[in-house]
């Protein structure tokens, strides 16, 4: 299985294959990482990619700021008209988390990185200021 992920300006070619029984090989830009199937509690492609990128991050000491999210803040002031996620849900780049109405514009607020939702700090119909924390991630 192959896929391409773009984070910030960097493009990652990711290839996942079964190296042995119960051992998966995840190749990230020609670097290989191995996981037992038990390491991957969830079996969707996004999680594979996230965990492979985690390994690369740790091994190379590189921090991708765009990816490691601790919280999602409101980019502008307005009223939260709907919340599109739940506590415990895993996010990936581009995932819609809420809709905010400002000056009668509809703004979909999306995640910039990967993370798991720990707390949702706002409710529907709540007014938020620009910079207010909407979601806290684990």
């Amino acid at each position: 299985m192959q896929t391409t992920i773009k984070i910030g300006d960097k493009i990652y070619q990711i290839e996942i294959s079964e190296a042995e029984e119960n051992l998966l090989k995840v190749k990230v830009n020609n670097k290989e990482y191995f996981f037992t199937k038990n390491e991957l509690s969830e079996s969707n492609l996004d999680d594979f990619c996230a965990k492979a990128l985690d390994k690369e991050t740790k091994e190379n000491g590189v921090v991708f700021r765009e990816r490691i999210e601790k919280e999602i803040k409101s980019p502008l002031a307005g009223t939260i008209s709907s919340i599109a996620v739940k506590i415990g849900e895993r996010l990936k780049p581009g995932k819609k988390v809420a809709t905010l109405i400002a000056m009668k514009m509809e703004n979909e607020i999306v995640s910039e990185g990967y993370g798991k939702i720990k707390e949702i700090k706002v409710k529907e119909n709540q007014f938020v200021d620009s910079g207010d924390t909407l979601i806290i991630l684990e």
């Binding site: 765009e66 980019p75 502008l76 400002a102 009668k104 509809e106 979909e108």
Partner: protein, 175 residues
């Protein structure tokens, strides 16, 4: 400027969003002769029978701080276009509607996708131009240029004037 004309669309905003996500260039314009699911804010229906002017613009990405001026700017341009072409007295019901003689004639819905920056920005404009008769439930609250003027107007000319003016005005705040 690329203008994509469609006979019928569910919504020009939805089509513009779809095209933008597939990589269509800013200032791609999506025009539909009629919309079957036209909507305004909070997904309230926008009646879009044939003979109106319904279009959406894929906007260049603005700074987040500039987003809030987009709709007002477009409302001002639409009102100015109506006033200058037809000698009518449009009233801007801030920030996104235009009224003539106490009835709504145009509406604007800007939709953005935002992370740490603006990922996508689409502006939809619905202008009741040549609609001869509005649905009964809207007759008291909406109007059209044709009803106000007693004659048809040139949809293509109005479209081009609005886009040209918007492009000119947005130059200063977009990339």
């Amino acid at each position: 400027m690329i203008i994509k004309n469609y006979k019928t669309l569910k919504s020009t905003n939805l089509k513009a969003r779809e095209l933008a996500q597939k990589g269509a260039d800013p200032w791609t314009i999506v025009v539909a002769e009629e919309q079957t699911g036209g909507y305004g804010r909070k997904k309230t229906a926008w009646s879009s029978p044939k003979d109106g002017l319904y279009f959406s613009i894929i906007l260049p990405k603005s700074n987040i701080d500039d987003l809030q001026t987009l709709t007002i700017l477009a409302a001002f341009i639409c009102a100015k276009t109506i006033k200058e072409n037809f000698n009518l007295e449009p009233f801007i019901k801030l920030p996104n509607d235009i009224w003539i003689n106490g009835k709504k004639v145009a509406g604007i819905l800007t939709e953005n996708i935002i992370g740490k920056d603006v990922k996508l920005s689409v502006m939809g404009i619905g202008l009741n131009t040549n609609i001869a008769k509005l649905p009964q439930d809207l007759e008291n609250i909406a109007t059209s240029l044709r009803i106000e003027l007693g004659k048809e107007v040139d949809n293509q000319k109005i479209l081009e004037q609005i886009i040209k003016a918007l492009k000119e005005q947005l130059k200063t705040i977009s990339e």
